[in-house]
Every structure is written in C-alpha cells, then in structure tokens.
C-alpha cells in the first residue's frame, strides 16, 4: 500500500496554512473595522464582544468565498483531477463490490425502484456480475418490515430470481446507520473489496459505479472516494430552489473542497465508494463515554469514519468531476430543519473528537467546520442581541461628556454609520461572490442552456438569493435553539427522513414559527420605539421572522413548484435532459406492482396472506432451541392473538411474533381455521362469506 508521501503531505499543509491566512487576516481586519464603526467611547465589554463575534462570523463566511474561488479556478484551468490523472492499470475483474443501502422506515417501493434503476444501468455496462446489492433494513415497525420484504420480492420478481439483490433486517439497530453498515461488514464484508454506500434516495449510474471501481483499482492508496450527488426529483417550491442552488453552486464548492483538502477530504455518508478491508480494520466507531447529547453513539458517523480512515494512512478524496450521482433533498423547510436537528447534535458531538489523537489537521478542521455550521447561528443571534443592547443603552443612558475630571472639552460620542454601510456591502460581497463565480463559470463553459437559458438562469439566481436571504434568519433562529438544546443535554430521536412531495400545513407552520414571529414583534417593536435608526439595520432579520409562517407554507406547495417549472425557473440539467438512469428510475416507479393474494398489508398480511406469510417465513432463519419459558411465552402470545385478534397485540408483541418462524407458520394456519367472530379479527369478509354465524366460544373453551 502506498501511503501519502512527505511531498504531498507538505503540499496539503501549505494549502491549509494559506487558507488559514486568507481566512484569519480579513477576520482580524474586519474585527478592527467593526470596533471603529461602533460608538466610542462606549461600553468597552460590549464593543469588544461585538467586534470579536463579528470577526468570527466574517471569517466563517469568508471560508465559503475562498473555497468557491479555488473551485472556480480549478474548474476553469484543470479539467482532470489528480485522482483521475493518477488512475492507472486495468481493473481486476475479480474485484467484487457490494452496493449497500441502509434503510429505516423508508418507502420500500421507492427504495426498490431506485435499486432496480441502478441494477439495469449496471447491466448496460456489462459489469453487473461484479456487483451485489444489499438492502440493509433497520426498520423496527412491524408493518414497515413486512412491506419492505414484499417490495424486495417484487423487485426480484421483476429483474429475475437469480439477481444478486439481498434483503437483510437487523433485529437490534445498535449504533443506527453506522452500526447497520458495520453489521454488513461483519457478516459479508470479506467477500467484497469495495462497498458503495447508498442512502434510500441515492441513485448512481452504472457508468459511474464502474468508474469508481476503476479509480479505486488504479489508486491503491485510496480508501474512500466521495462523489458529489446532484439534487433531483423536487416538486415543492422550496425543494426546487434547493435543487437549483445545489446544481448551480455545488460543483464549484465541491471543486474548492477538493482543492483545499486534496487527499484528506470529506465523506458525507452516502454516494461514496469505500475500500472494505481498511474500513473494517480502522473505522469501527466507539461509543463515546458519558451521557447527554455529547456521549453515547456517534450520530454523524461519516466525518469520523473519514478521519479514522485517513488516520490509518488511507487517502480520502472528494471527487467532484464524476457525473451520474444523485440524491433527493428535504421537500420543505420544516423537513430540512428536522434533519438539521439531528445533524446539529451529531456535529456538536464532534467537539469531543477535534483534539483526538492521530487525526490529520484537515479532518480536525472538518469537525470544527461542522460545529461552526450551527454555532455560527448562535453567534449571529448573540451579535444581534448585543448590538440591540448597545443601541438601547445609548438611548437610555446619558453619555458621560466629561469622563475625567479637570478637562476643558467634552468627549462627544462618535460612531460612523457610513463605515457600517461600507462593512455591510463588503459582507454582502463576500456572501454573494461564490454565486457570481458559479454563474460566470456556467457562462464560460457554455452550460446556460442546461439551466433554461441566460435570462431564466439570472432570474432564478435573483429569486433564489431573495428566498435564501429570507430563510437565513429563520434557519439561524432554529439552529440557535438546536445548539442550546444540545448544550442542555437534550438528545434527539432517530426518525426517518422526509422524502418525496410533502407540504407544510398552516397549523404546523404556526407551531414551529409562531415563537419567532412573536419574538420579531417584541424585539423589533422595542427597537423601533427606542432607536428607530438602528431598527432599519435589524429589519431584514425581523421581517424574515415575521413572515416565516406564510413563507414556510407557500414554499412547501407543490403547485407553486410546478408553476415555477412551467415558467422555466429553477431548472436543472437533469430536468432539461434527463439522463438514462433517471428514465430507468421512472420506468421502475411505473412498473406494475406485485399482485397480492389478499387486501391485507403489513403485519396482518404476514399472518393472513398465504404468499406474504411464505415469503416472511422463508426470510427468517430457523429458530434455535428455546427454553421452556420462552416457548411458553410465545404460546401465550399466540393464544392472545387468536383470542383477541391483532388489535390486542402491541408493536413489540408483533415484532416478537414476526421474529419467530415457527410462531408465524403456526399462526398463519391457525387463523385460517378459526370460525366466526374470531376469524373476522384476521380475515377479510370476502374470505369468510360461507361461514355460519356462530356464537363466540366461552372463555373456558379458549383456555382449555
């Protein structure tokens, strides 16, 4: 194995040092400038705090500028990345790759349609035999479990029984997604040289998958390659705007990350290929000691796995120049914020790993960057609060014109609003230059038509900028709450991610944005009464909070999204000319569904439906010899099911039954023999039309 040599290592360090200088120097200057802008003589502690926070925030936003600038230059002057240039030699056809898709309460039909599209796309490359597919379920809902099995069976029925597409459900979902993948590695990992990690909404073309294997084969020191997934399939206005921004600005930003991080890059947890052996050897995640939000299982596992891989000497590349990688984004603002709540905790947890032994500096920076993604909101709000306090104090407290005794001339309070305007425009420039760079690059590379043409592209950028300016303060408020909640030790639950079309109701918007609206009225009103001049500085933030409820509802609407598309707004290359993979996906979505024997679904189907029961039993492994107590407890559960029907069974009862093949087989035959009222607990009326109406048996009969 070739490890990263001293020369390349030095280059990475130089780039890191350069970026640090580029970020820190303007931060210090901006901080000093802010001190000049603020009233003086003033409240020293307040002024110092404001200047320091501003310096931090300025540095934070300037990172985006330097990343984008480097990315734009890289895309302009170098068409082939170092990773692709280094790729050499032919692919070992015996190198097997597992495509693994961890799922947790996802739409199984959507999951299987995605896999079918990838399967058929790979088949077109002629390299299908090198790949196996795994659906790794962590679902712990009885109905979801059974429907996943049925969707998998339907997929196998469509592509052929010999297809190497496997379904595995984990009984105990320890360590969530990372534990799910670790479980795969333990069971089957050493049969594969590589694994490609999919999210439930991921799609990757066969050409890209084979190319990734070639890159890994040609670069034996590489442990992980992360692709840049393009956002697809969005219909709500919010989703379409995010999709457009991702598609237009994403490549520039990713190229910038590629430039600065080189072989010590990012891993985002999906749409990436991993060399299995070093992953197994070095990337198992420990439980962090202690309780609260900072202890326990590592929630944002991807950054840590990349850092562990690199710590062991393997290269980690973020490779932006590979087409054919796709994902979906949250359809509404509230869905995005729910996801951010999990990410906030996961990233804050990394505070315990920043100074851990052996990690390379770029990965420590990745941890810090993740933490700052949320802490920056807290700092922004603190900046607004402190600056409001300063404005209020200057109104309410009479200035000291003679701070020292025996002076002839008064000291007038001085502040420079015109300098504040300069600083404001400069800050805006730092924020918007990355967008401008992305547009320039699109024009130079002749790709405007892929976004609907010049005028529509510009209109889309302007509207996207307006919307992102409105949403930024709303996100800031939520992220601040998330940070405080994590610091207070509150853990977040593990839930499925919202996908597909969804819309926010007025009630939901009121519930989540109501507090922000009240805050805007109180805070904004107070400042307007006491310091009208300063009010106008706060207005963009207060106005965003004030209109958050209707905005959140309207942008979640599918009709508005479709209307925007009809007007040619927020178009992406995948919409204008859908790639073959997306056509395959749409065909798979439209494929006829598997005929079911009965109308029953989920757990009920696994008991009643002769086909689904057979499928479920076939997928369960044979039960081990169990103790008398366990056998008796199962019998009691079955008797309860027979006597009182499925409604008497709790979720855990159902899972216990579903986990035991003998119980499932016995219960299936049992419910088909039941008469009268008890049969109706289970069997649809149409299946019982010939039954006589009989009185229910007495309790004595049941327990006999």
């Amino acid at each position: 194995m070739t490890r990263v040599g001293p020369a390349r290592r030095q280059r990475i360090l130089w780039r890191g040092a350069l970026l640090a200088i580029l970020v820190l120097s303007p931060s210090v200057i901006a901080s000093q400038f802010m001190l000049e802008v603020l009233p003086h003589p003033g409240y020293q502690i307040l002024n110092d705090s404001l200047a320091t926070i501003f310096g931090f925030l300025f540095g934070w936003i300037s990172i985006g500028l330097w990343i984008s600038l480097a990315g734009a230059l890289l895309l302009l002057f170098r068409h082939r990345s170092r990773l692709q240039s280094c790729s050499q030699g032919s692919t070992d056809m015996s190198a097997r790759t597992a495509l693994v898709m961890p799922v947790f309460h996802e739409d199984p039909v959507r999951v299987c349609a995605g896999l079918e599209a990838v399967y058929r796309s790979l088949a077109e490359t002629g390299r299908l035999s090198q790949f196996d597919f795994f659906i790794l379920s962590d679902s712990n809902d009885p109905d979801a479990w059974v429907e996943e099995e049925v969707a998998w069976a339907a997929l196998r029925a469509r592509v052929g029984a010999q297809a190497r597409i496997f379904y595995r459900r984990r009984r105990n979902n320890i360590k969530r997604k990372s534990g799910n993948i670790a479980d795969f590695c333990r069971r089957w990992g050493n049969q594969y040289r590589y694994m490609v990690i999919f999210d439930a909404d991921s799609l990757m073309s066969g050409t890209l998958l084979t190319r990734l294997v070639e890159l890994m084969e040609g670069n034996p020191a590489v442990g992980l390659i992360q692709t840049l997934p393009a956002a697809i399939h969005q219909n709500t206005l919010f989703g379409r705007v995010q999709q457009f921004a991702n598609r237009l600005y994403g490549p520039v930003f990713a190229a910038g990350l590629h430039f600065w991080h080189v072989s010590e890059g990012h891993y985002w947890g999906h749409n990436a290929i991993i060399r299995v052996a070093p992953f197994v050897r070095h990337c198992a995640l420990p439980r962090l000691p202690g309780g609260g939000a900072f202890g326990g299982e590592i929630m944002s596992h991807d950054f840590v796995e990349a850092a562990l891989m690199r710590r062991a000497g393997w290269e980690v590349w973020m490779e932006p120049g590979l087409e054919g990688s796709y994902e979906e984004t949250p359809p509404t603002l509230l869905d995005e914020l729910k996801r951010d709540r999990r990410w906030a905790q996961g990233n804050m947890q990394h505070a315990r790993l920043v100074f851990a032994r052996g990690f390379v500096s770029p990965h420590r920076v990745v941890f810090l960057n993740g933490i700052m993604s949320y802490v920056s909101s807290f700092l922004w709000l603190a900046f607004l609060a402190l600056s409001s306090l300063e404005a209020i104090l200057h109104v309410l407290v009479v200035p000291q014109y003679f701070p020292r005794a025996h002076v002839l001339f008064p000291v007038w309070p001085v502040w420079h609003p015109e300098w504040a305007v300069v600083l404001f425009w400069f800050t805006l420039a730092v924020l918007f230059v990355p967008k401008v760079l992305a547009i320039i690059l699109t024009v130079i590379r002749g790709r405007m038509a892929s976004f609907g043409g010049g005028p529509r592209l510009l209109a889309s950028v302007v509207l996207e900028s307006v919307l992102s300016s409105i949403l930024a303060p709303v996100r800031m408020l939520f992220h601040t709450v998330f940070v405080v909640s994590v610091l207070a030790g509150r853990k977040t639950a593990w839930g499925p991610q919202a996908r597909g079309d969804a819309s926010t109701t007025w009630r939901q918007a009121l519930r989540y944005h109501g507090a922000g609206t009240i805050l805007a009225v109180v805070w904004g009103g107070l400042i307007y009464l006491l310091s009208p001049n300063y009010f106008w500085w706060l207005l963009p933030v207060m106005a965003a909070w004030l209109i958050a409820i209707p905005v959140s509802v309207w942008i979640s609407r599918v009709q508005l999204g479709i209307k925007a598309r009809q007007w040619g707004l927020f178009l992406t290359p995948e919409e204008i000319q859908p790639p073959p993979l997306l056509r395959l996906f749409n065909e798979a979505r439209r494929a006829p569904i598997l005929r079911r024997c009965t109308a029953a679904r989920g757990f009920l189907a696994a008991i009643v439906d002769p086909g689904v029961n057979a499928l479920h039993c076939a997928l369960l492994k044979a039960g081990n010899v169990v103790s008398n107590e366990v056998a008796l407890s199962r019998q009691q559960l079955m008797l309860m099911a027979i006597k009182d029907g499925p409604r008497a069974l709790s979720r855990w009862d159902r899972l216990r039954l579903l986990n035991d093949r003998e119980s499932m087989t016995a219960l299936h035959w049992r419910v088909w023999t039941l008469r009268g009222p008890r049969a109706r607990h289970w069997l649809d009326g149409t299946l019982l039309h010939a039954d006589r109406s009989l009185p229910p048996p007495s309790c004595a009969q049941v327990s006999r």
Partner: protein, 123 residues
C-alpha cells in the same frame, strides 16, 4: 417434546375455535387456495381429499399442507422435503415462479463472519 410438538398439541387441540362443519371446512379450504390463485381445476380434488373424514378445519388444513409438500416433491425433485417446503410451494404459486429456481436462488450470500477489528479502540 420440541416446540413444534408442544405447539401442535396446544393449538390444534383447541377444536372449539375451529370451523367444524363439512361445508364450512370445504369453503374455507377453497377460499384459501383461491386466494393463492391456485388453479380451480386442481384444488377441488385437494379440498375433497383434505376434508374427507376431518373433524375440524385444523385437521383438514394439516392434510392440505401434506398434499402441498407431496405436490412439491413430485414437481420439483431437487427441493428438500422439509419444514420449509410448504412455504416454498406457496411462494412459488404466489410469485408464479419455478420452485426449483426459488429453492436454489440464494436469499443472501453465505455469512463469512469477521469482527470490526477496530471496535475496541478509542479515537
């Protein structure tokens, strides 16, 4: 006595809950096979055989399972005649798939267990 035997003794023994009239028994078995989309021209003979002399539906369904297993043994010689073969027969009828193919196609690659070597270390 293993679990299956205990279960059989317990559950099949609960006759008062079962359909017991000959007509209802036949209807229930027909309904079962029709639900599975088993061809009507075949299942009538199966129903008759299973219900003849049966005192309750549990007994009739047990005979039906035996018939299913025998049918599978005749039509798919390579399929082992074990506890899973009735489920395999149902699966092959439902999915309209060859039972031989179903029996031989793997539901998952064989386990080749290894440990995540770094699990005991702390970053």
């Amino acid at each position: 006595m293993n679990f299956d035997e205990r279960m059989q003794g317990r559950v099949v023994g609960m006759m008062p809950l079962d359909v017991s009239g000959p007509l209802e028994m036949r209807e229930r078995l027909r309904s079962y096979l029709a639900t599975l989309s088993f061809p009507p021209e075949l299942y009538e003979a199966w129903v008759e055989t299973a219900c003849e002399g049966a005192s309750h539906a549990g007994q009739a369904f047990a005979r039906l399972q035996e018939r299913m297993a025998n049918h599978l043994a005749e039509s798919a010689a390579s399929v082992p005649h074990d506890a899973r073969c009735v489920a395999l027969w149902r699966l092959s009828v439902w999915l309209n798939a060859d039972a031989d193919v179903l029996a031989t196609s793997s539901l998952g690659p064989p386990f080749t267990r290894q440990s995540m070597a770094s699990e005991r270390t702390r970053p």
